[in-house]
Assembly symmetry: C2
């Protein structure tokens, strides 16, 4: 199987490092991509489940823009809805009625939602959720999960990160995932100052196996927090609308007070939403939180088309089935080559790791070999399925995986 060259990507990257810190920064940064020469860094074409890099190499994309792409790039219905709204009005000095229509749609679709608030970034609404929790409880402390990610606002970054100061974490208490004893201890120690608990619906850290909620975990969490007069916030930015159309909490059978959505809500258009219960409506209204582009209407029209299409396609079931086909196939192929592939998390956004290694070298090399053959995989982050991936795409991907394992064997 032919492997790709990245000559133009490399040229662009040399230009990028002169103009942009890191060249490409944040979660798009090349830093976690090892071996670096296995990856493309620039693209100007994407369609369906594929993108093409600046060298013309074609990739079946299992990162889906790190989550936002859920129906395939350039989905015709979503793009038509965006375009129709955009041609009428996008930025404006007053709001568009489509903001109300989208709020009403979320209220219909998401059982917890009795109101909705819109912003641009996932972090805009994780930050708002904390402000609402503090406002509603008149308390300060927030419990979060060790290794959990809710954006790069300093309070949520790991202590010691560049530009973050210890005081940023003064009222943040991190406990292990699935650890009810730790939660009880924190409530015993700080109960009367705990505003809320924030976590993703299941634990999907980077560079580590993902973990589903233990049986009864979320039910105990909500019971303990509510008994303590504290709020439960689900950060569904990454998983939202991939696992369940009503919010990922519905899949696990519990009701939080606030849910943060973003990534997949509008199939790639920048939008985020906080939804919450009636009890929190007034506090949400009193918190002042705003941004210059938060009322741009095009992405809201896109969101309505995206959610409608996902629902019609039974998107979460479809992505779970595709993810199962992919990961079952990879596990089997790995075994055929004498490797053990561990699959964790939800199959619509699985996390994979070769276990036959003390470090992540094997996994990194194998993901690089797959990428160089046209299956865009990261080694450190969960992957994403979309409804645009087909069974044939996955069969072709499994051929790539097979060839990548051969290459891995030859290297060892």
């Amino acid at each position: 199987m032919k492997t790709y060259n990245y000559d133009k990507s490399t040229e662009w990257f040399k230009r990028a490092v002169k103009a942009i810190p890191c060249g490409v920064y944040g979660h798009f940064s090349p830093a976690p991509y090892v071996p670096i020469d296995a990856y493309p860094f620039f693209s100007n074409r994407a369609q369906g489940a594929r993108f093409w890099d600046v060298d013309g190499n074609e990739f079946i994309d299992y990162m889906c823009a790190y989550g936002p792409m859920v129906l395939g790039y350039a989905h015709p219905d979503v793009d038509a809805a965006f375009e129709a709204q955009w041609r009428q009005s996008d930025a404006n000095s007053v709001a568009s009625p489509c903001m109300i229509e989208l709020a009403e749609m979320l209220i219909d679709m998401v059982p917890v939602a009795e109101w909705a608030f819109f912003a641009r970034n996932g972090a805009d609404v994780t930050n708002l959720s904390v402000m609402v929790a503090r406002a509603a409880t008149n308390r300060k402390k927030i419990i979060a999960i060790k290794g959990g990610y809710h954006g790069t606002t300093p309070w949520m970054q790991a202590p010691g990160h560049h530009g973050v100061i210890p005081e940023d974490h003064e009222h943040l208490i991190r406990i292990p995932w699935n650890d009810i004893a730790a939660l009880k201890q924190v409530i015993a120690d700080h109960g009367d100052d705990i505003a809320g608990f924030i976590a993703t619906p299941y634990h999907h850290p980077v560079f580590a196996d993902n973990a589903l909620p233990a049986d009864g975990y979320w039910q105990q969490v909500t019971e303990l927090l509510h008994k303590n007069g504290s709020l439960v916030i689900v950060d569904d930015v990454r998983a939202g609308f991939r696992l369940h159309m009503g919010g990922s909490n519905e899949k696990y059978g519990f009701k939080p007070d606030l849910i943060c959505f973003s990534k997949a809500i509008a199939n790639g258009y920048a939008l985020s939403a906080l939804v919450g219960t009636e009890a929190l409506r007034v506090d949400a209204a009193k918190v002042f939180h705003t941004g210059s582009f938060w009322f741009c209407a095009g992405s809201m029209a896109a969101a309505m088309a995206c959610l409608k299409t996902l629902q019609e396609q039974r998107g979460p079931e479809l992505m779970a089935a595709l993810g199962k086909q992919l990961t079952d196939g990879i596990v089997e192929i790995a075994a055929n080559h004498g490797y053990t592939m561990k699959v964790t998390g939800e199959m619509a956004m699985p996390y994979l790791r070769i276990t036959d290694d003390d470090n992540v070298m094997l996994q990194q090399n194998w993901c690089g070999e797959c990428t160089k053959r046209g299956a865009f995989f990261t080694s450190h982050h969960n992957w994403f399925l979309s409804t645009a991936h087909t069974e044939d795409d996955i069969k072709h991907t499994l051929d790539i995986c097979d060839d990548a394992f051969k290459a891995l064997k030859e290297q060892s």
Copy 2:
């Protein structure tokens, strides 16, 4: 002159309050609009310097989407650039080369810029600027201006705001604008822990007269801060590219270390940028700051077209001249009716206030009367000119202003 009805806006607003906290929140909220029945709250059509509300009322728009619209809504060149990029690739799993091209354009255009970093909200980059300042100095405290606004992240909100806790302001020191003595005192008291000073290029608070920098103010600020080993950050989110194409600091003859841009950079598409000096490149690269949509390429292509067009049109000079025509006219008309209108700030984004009143009632009523006649004015916030406003628009606006003063007289 006929005044407008807002029947459909009112119906939509009744629907909105059921679905969305406040109905319309943040800086778009009706709360500051008094009298509330003078204002439209929903629109789905905007073109050039105008928007039309859901009742079909036409407004010459002096809020310009609160700043983002700088060339007129639906500007053909900007929208064509957006559309061409969007049809190729917007969200994607890897970056677009146009991110590099835009960074290079800013480096060429903005003397301070030796690198650029892109995000979506203005607050994304004001937050990053503070993280970079803390990282580069290994210090904690940030000096800001009383009444200054840098977004709604808790550290920047006024103490006591809903959802904000005292610790959010632990390392923020606010001093009055144009007060060098206060700045010297803060440096004397906390010099070895001051990471940076953040301010807008001139002081443009809401509900208060705006104030230009006193002669030599910024030169003294930069000298004092740099001598202290601290950084100078200009928050040019609101004024950037309306006063000067090289950053508003160029108009006032000084060089900060970091400049935050957003609003007008892409004529309404969601985008923000932090630019900075070579000395800060490595620290900017080390700070981890990212967002799901920060690499969406459409808005970057739009920004290049917007900045090119603004430069060709000599946008800042044109908007200053239009603003002067408008405000000179209003001052004169006010005087004819026996009122004194005070105009402050820069004429491309002037702040106006009727001084013949102890409170803001007269100003509120007059702005309402203007809006009901088709000139969309707020009473509490600076207005914005765009290059799409014409001399004829302003003449028509002045007729509206005249009629509004007559109505004001009749009410008193």
